[in-house]
């Protein structure tokens, strides 16, 4: 009997911890759902990536800088997939900072690869970055 009581007492901190983490669920690691849109800019020394997803009623982003950012405006508002795809396929002059856009929001993955120097792609990336909390400081 005493042993059983001891065991029960021994488990108490574990139970408290479980209850605590179940209650404060938001303390858990922020996970990006598989259905998301991602923008990846391959810089000279680092890759700047941004994942955009719907978090309940709000738009949220996870970036290489911030694990969670609640967007004030819809980050994909300026997305025109067809226009971006056409623009990316045209050959650019001069340097190219590679950009990968991936749309995984409908189960399958659609991809566009292009250059940041391309005006259409550059404008879209800048718009997503700004709405996802990059360069705000």
């Amino acid at each position: 009997m005493r042993l059983l009581t001891r065991a029960r007492i021994g488990r108490m901190p574990l139970m408290i911890a479980l209850v605590f983490y179940a209650t404060i669920g938001s303390a858990a690691k922020i996970i990006v759902p598989p259905e998301h849109f991602s923008v990846s800019v391959q810089g000279k020394y680092e890759t700047r990536w941004t994942k955009v997803f719907k978090d309940g009623a709000v738009w949220a982003c996870q970036t290489d800088l911030l694990p969670y950012f609640e967007a004030k405006q819809e980050p994909l508002k300026d997305l025109d997939w067809k226009r971006l795809k056409t623009s990316a396929s045209s050959k650019d002059l001069g340097p190219c900072t590679p950009v990968i856009l991936e749309d995984r929001r409908r189960g399958k993955t659609e991809t566009i690869t292009g250059c940041l120097e391309n005006p259409e792609i550059g404008r879209f990336v800048k718009s997503v970055h700004k709405k996802c909390g990059r360069g705000l400081l």
């Binding site: 404060i24 938001s26 303390a27 690691k29 922020i30 810089g43 000279k44 020394y45 680092e46 890759t47 700047r48 290489d64 800088l65 911030l66 694990p67 969670y68 950012f69 609640e70 004030k72 623009s87 045209s90 050959k91 650019d92 002059l93 001069g94 340097p95 190219c96 590679p98 005006p119 970055h129 700004k130 909390g133 990059r134 360069g135 705000l136 400081l137």
Partner: protein
């Protein structure tokens, strides 16, 4: 065998200079081979203080730092005797260190902010301090942090608007929509750059950049003096290097236009030939040690004299480049119609014969090319074809954006078109409505179009504004075709000067872009000067590893043992991206001089680098 090894080691300990003398390479090779027979341990050497030290493989010095930096214990934060790298997300919230450093710099700069901004910023600063004190990884914390970032952005906007309003002239109504936008754009840039200056101009990390830059510039000039090149070329290189300026990462397109992320968290540094300035982004100077600054600063300085830029210098002196600069950013067409007609007849004619220019760095550039790629023959026909193809692509791009129509439509009396016949305003619009200080010389499409349109005459002599609908359509089309011819001629002239080093000819297989290799190479030549200022061997080894730590592969990349394959190195030779592969860049640091200074063995892995190339 053990006895033989012992004997050699005794000789080696007794006469340490024998092994350091290049003439004793055979003895060194024997020691190495004996060591291999006996096991993996490297032979013992003596450092200048007479202490016994092992001689590691040079590749290990850099690979070890990278492996340590991203192992589970360090996770992007590595503190050594000679410097610290902090590129992880080690705080409780998981935000990246570069973000925290930038916020901290803002908090530290509060008193230095301009007064109109400071009064509005105070509550936000206090909230930032509170939040950083109670950092946790919860959605609520991140939401609060994100809200603060957004609020801070709104305050900048608000202050810029207040300043723009205050600077409006009394006859505000007469200001066009472009002028109003320009005023606001300028104020936004002004506020942002004031913040960057307050945060960093006197900050310890930017001071480190400035100090390292001074040393780097002196060293690269000394390297140039030692190069086996004609004196005139060396003088030209030195003159160019001396004219390069270092700038804080500002947004003002009249200074450098570094981009918003560069001013805050981006890990980057660049030289911009248009401004002849270079900058180091805040994410880099807030997270890397001086040794990494040094190699990057020399690399960027090297770009001011890289093969492409050096070849461009000849073009910039040509008559065609002068015309292009005259056309660039004009408010009114710069040529009268007679001049323009003559230019079109004389200068915009395609040459029938072109001779490949000889570049003074040819031997060096050849050494950089690990995969000897067969290039297309360099002749007038090929260059004309390349120029035509690229101009078509450029014209298509402008047409996609309705750029010609935008420039040719005057608008209505109530709503005049601010961009009518103003290609300079198109350029300014993409720079927050601030006209940049530079004059471009590689794209004259919109400028030639407007110049041609302003000179166009209908059959009855009417100008473009007064001509009939039918004539106007024809004038519009002819002006596009005229711009096309001018641009083609400009490109051919450019290619004729830059030859095999033209960046623009890379995709046509007519050139090789070795500018990045050159910038790395010059950095490698200078690096021994930096290392030799450190007396401790242990610290020199650390510095050699830290110098290229920027190229440690980021986590998330598929890691496999280096001994397994060289897939990345091989794949890179097929890529059109200019920078060499990361590990190749790290290994290239170990030139024979550096290997001597850090007493490491130049192992086979180093053959993948290009530290041993020469003119």
């Amino acid at each position: 065998m053990r006895f033989a090894l012992l004997l050699i080691l005794i000789v080696f300990w007794t006469f340490p200079t024998l092994a350091e003398d290049p003439g004793n390479a055979e003895l060194q090779a024997l020691i190495d081979s004996m060591s291999r027979l006996e096991g993996p341990q490297a032979p013992k050497h003596c450092d200048p203080e007479g202490k016994k030290v092992s001689q590691p493989d040079c590749s290990r010095l850099t690979d070890d730092i990278c492996e340590k930096l991203w192992d589970p214990k360090h996770d992007g934060v590595l503190e050594l005797q000679t410097g610290k790298i902090d590129v992880g997300s080690k705080g409780k919230s998981g935000i990246k260190s570069t973000v925290r450093a930038d916020v901290q710099a803002l908090l530290d700069a509060e008193k230095r902010l301009p007064s109109d901004l400071r009064s509005k910023a105070e509550p936000i600063m206090n909230r930032f301090r509170e939040l950083l004190k109670n950092e946790i990884d919860s959605k609520k914390w991140h939401r609060d942090f994100g809200n603060l970032l957004s609020d801070w952005g709104s305050i900048i906007e608000e202050v810029a608007q207040d300043r723009a309003k205050a600077s409006l002239p009394k006859d505000e109504k007469s200001a066009s929509s472009f002028e109003r936008k320009a005023r606001l754009g300028q104020k936004k840039i002004e506020v942002s750059d004031q913040i960057t200056r307050a945060k960093y101009a006197n900050g310890p990390n930017w001071k480190r950049v400035e100090q390292t830059y001074t040393a780097a510039k002196a060293d690269i000039l000394a390297v140039i003096d030692d190069l086996k090149l004609p004196a005139a070329i060396r003088e030209k290189m030195k003159k160019k290097l001396n004219s390069v300026e270092l700038s804080l990462p500002l947004l003002d397109p009249r200074i450098i236009d570094s981009g918003e992320e560069c001013a805050t968290t981006e890990v980057n540094a660049f030289y911009d030939p248009i401004y002849n300035r270079m900058t180091v982004c805040a994410g880099f100077f807030n997270s890397y040690p001086d040794a990494a600054f040094y190699t990057v600063l020399i690399h960027e300085l090297g770009h001011s004299i890289d093969p492409g830029i050096f070849a461009d210098l000849a073009f910039e002196e040509s008559r065609m480049a002068q015309i292009a600069r005259k056309l660039s950013n004009f408010e009114k067409p710069p040529f009268n119609c007679r001049e323009w007609d003559k230019l079109q007849q004389d200068l915009f004619e395609m040459p029938s014969r072109i001779v490949e220019p000889k570049h003074p760095y040819r031997k060096l550039i050849d050494c950089f090319s690990s995969r000897k790629k067969e290039l297309e023959p360099f002749n007038a026909e090929k260059l004309r074809y390349a120029a035509k193809k690229q101009t078509s692509s450029l014209i298509a791009r402008y047409s996609d954006l309705n750029a010609f129509g935008y420039l040719a439509k005057s608008g209505t009396k109530d709503e005049p078109n601010d961009f009518y016949m103003r290609p300079d305003r198109r350029v300014a619009r993409s720079h927050n409505y601030i006209p940049p200080s530079w004059k471009k010389s590689d794209d004259i499409v919109t400028e030639s179009f407007v110049q041609s349109l302003s000179c166009a005459k209908a059959k009855d002599g009417a100008s473009f504004e007064r001509a009939s609908r039918e004539d106007r359509n024809k004038m519009f089309q002819d002006a596009i075709l005229s711009a096309q011819s001018a641009q083609e001629a400009l490109l051919v002239e450019k290619f004729r000067h830059c030859g095999r080093e033209c960046r623009e000819l890379l995709k046509e297989e007519l050139s090789r872009d070795r500018n990045e290799n050159f910038a790395d190479w010059i950095s490698i030549q200078a690096f021994p000067r930096y290392l030799s200022r450190e007396t401790s061997l242990e610290k020199r080894r650390e510095l050699a590893g830290l110098a290229s730590s920027l190229f440690c592969t980021e986590p998330g990349y598929i890691k496999t043992s280096n001994a397994d394959h060289d897939f990345d190195v091989i794949e890179k030779t097929f890529s059109q991206l200019p920078h060499p592969e990361y590990r190749v860049r790290r290994l290239s640091v170990f030139s024979p001089k550096v290997a001597e200074l850090v007493n490491c063995r130049m192992d086979d892995e180093l053959k993948k680098g290009f530290g041993s190339c020469d003119f």
